[in-house]
Amino acid sequence: MLRHVLLLTGVTGRDVLGPDGRVIGRLGDLTVRLGEQPGPRVVERLFVSRRRTPNLVLPWDVVANFGSDQVVLAIGGADLIEFEIDSLASALGPDEVLLGRDVLDTQIIDVVGQRLARVADVVFIQTPDSRLEVLGVEVGFGGVLRRLGLGRIVPGFGNDVVAWSDLHLTSDRGHLVQLGTPRAAVHRLDAAALAALVSRVDTDAATEILAAHEPGMAADAVRAAHADVGERMLRAMPETDAARVVAAMPEEHARRWSRRLASAPALFGRRALRSRVWPHRRHLIRGPRV
């Protein structure tokens, strides 16, 4: 059976209807959990924006039909009151992110393709039980042109999709939630890949990534990185954390790094190294054309 591929920008903005066919609001966003649950990553909840009444965050269970141009709910009227929210911030679970707010148009790290990219769209596939499974994110200029309605006018930009399991989110919430999720891509990296990742993100995010790893792994990553990048990381860390990382290095390296950190640097290790450390690669996932 051919399964439908959907895009986030294609589904948001659809009317959300009650069982009686009356419009309740518009589909504003979708959430996924980045936690430990096994199996494919499916959409958890729907954010529905409404005028003059509080917005809703609905579990997927209440969706009766996710159609091509509208979403029909199995409940309506007074049954919706329990799903009304005051603010999105308090409504989200600790490991839950909004795909529109925290992923779309944000920067991601493609940890397999080893590059920094901006999300042009989020790609779903409809499962046999009519849920939406997140396949990955589309990156590159082709998706941008399509969203601008220029996809056919300016051809030549192919689809480039990064699998959901292979990316690290850099949006504030996405980054923090993924750091707290042991199964996330950032925790499966070896020292060399971790070194490359911390070389690309901003210094504060990089030190948070290193702090989420054991000192031994952080030490290996610092040693694997360009010396200037390693120095920038260690200087940005709290002194005790930096000392722990240095202590986890082999003796000779630890001595050298201690000496380096003790001296006042002329440039504080600020070398603008971002993509030099990784080759650029494109990798298309096989499957239905987006």
């Binding site: 920094l116 941008v144 901003d202 995010a205 920038r232 640097p265 030099r276």
Partner: protein, 411 residues
Amino acid sequence: MSSTARRTRIAALLAVVGPGLLAGLSDDDPAGITTYSVLGADHGYQLLWVLLLSTVALVIFHGLAARMGVVTGQGLIGLVRQRYGVAVGGAVLAALVVANIGTTCAEFAGIAAGFELFGITRYISVPSAAVIVSLLVLRGSFHRVERLLLLVSTVFLAYIASGFMSHPDWGAALHGTFVPTMPMTGEAIAIVTATLGTTLAPWGLSFMQSYAVDKKLRIEDLKLERIDVITGAVLTGVIGFFVVVACAATLHRNGLHIADAADAAVALQPLAGKAAGTLFAVGLIGAAFLAASILPLSTAYSVCEYAGVEAAIDDPYRDARTFYMTYGIVTLIGATIVLAPNAPLVTILVGTQVLNAVLLVPLLLAMVGLARDRDLMGGFASGRAGTFVYSLTTVVVVVCVVTLGVTTLLG
């Protein structure tokens, strides 16, 4: 403070400085110098207070751009796309690219005019400058590029020297700076708005933020970065002050009118001595060279941020083709238009000035919106007081831009 601590602090400051100085000083480009020259030649010391106002606006918005870059780790156009979507981001980028190409033309026109004062034809000076600025960014490392550009900035000292040589009336200059008075003529309104419009430029704002990101400044650096921003803005204002003073003390006193900065350099020679005129011309060339390097750089950053393509000055060409191609194309178009025999240069320059002014409005509004966004800025989001200051500055700029637009369109 011990000498070691002082040395460490100075080293920290030196490591951070750059974005504020370069973004500020490159605003004193040939268009800016021309505006200041006309301001001084036509109105003497009376409108010097406008420079104080534009310096304050520069401190406020360049400081905000640096803060947004440091906190989010993203450039302005990337953030606009993230917060307002691809359509708004694309429209802003398209206008920015067109305006930047036009402004690059203005910079190369400044290089051409400056060298022609020394008898060097534009067919040698412009292509040479285009090749030099391209090689500088293509072949140089981040820090080498930064140091060279800062070195070029020292040429602005020529304006300060030129101002002193003109023997100005310092009392009248100080009075004009701190006591605002305004002749209510269309000409005066136009030059006041043009001064604000040329100082706070869209490309300067986007460059400031992108460059702070590329330099990998950290939140801990923000205090020192503020010094960098204030120094850059104050120097920008001080240089403008000396240009106005030089022209007020000579051209205005003798009732001479000028059309551009090159005219000013020529007119200064008999009045303030050959050295003053020569220094003025050297300053013009240096200012144009600095801005001609920054403009394509600012455009390249913005295009890459929007397209989602990674780019940094330290990247080799094979890893950052979009970045270097954009830099090269903007430089090439800018230089070619200036050299084209029948190109409508005046129309392009006036159109660019209007486009820059118009673009400033949505860009400032977007910046105020982004600064308030707690999802993006976290604890560094602007509160009520900050938003009031940013909004007030934006309103002043909007009023000026609308007035400039009206006076430009009505001639």
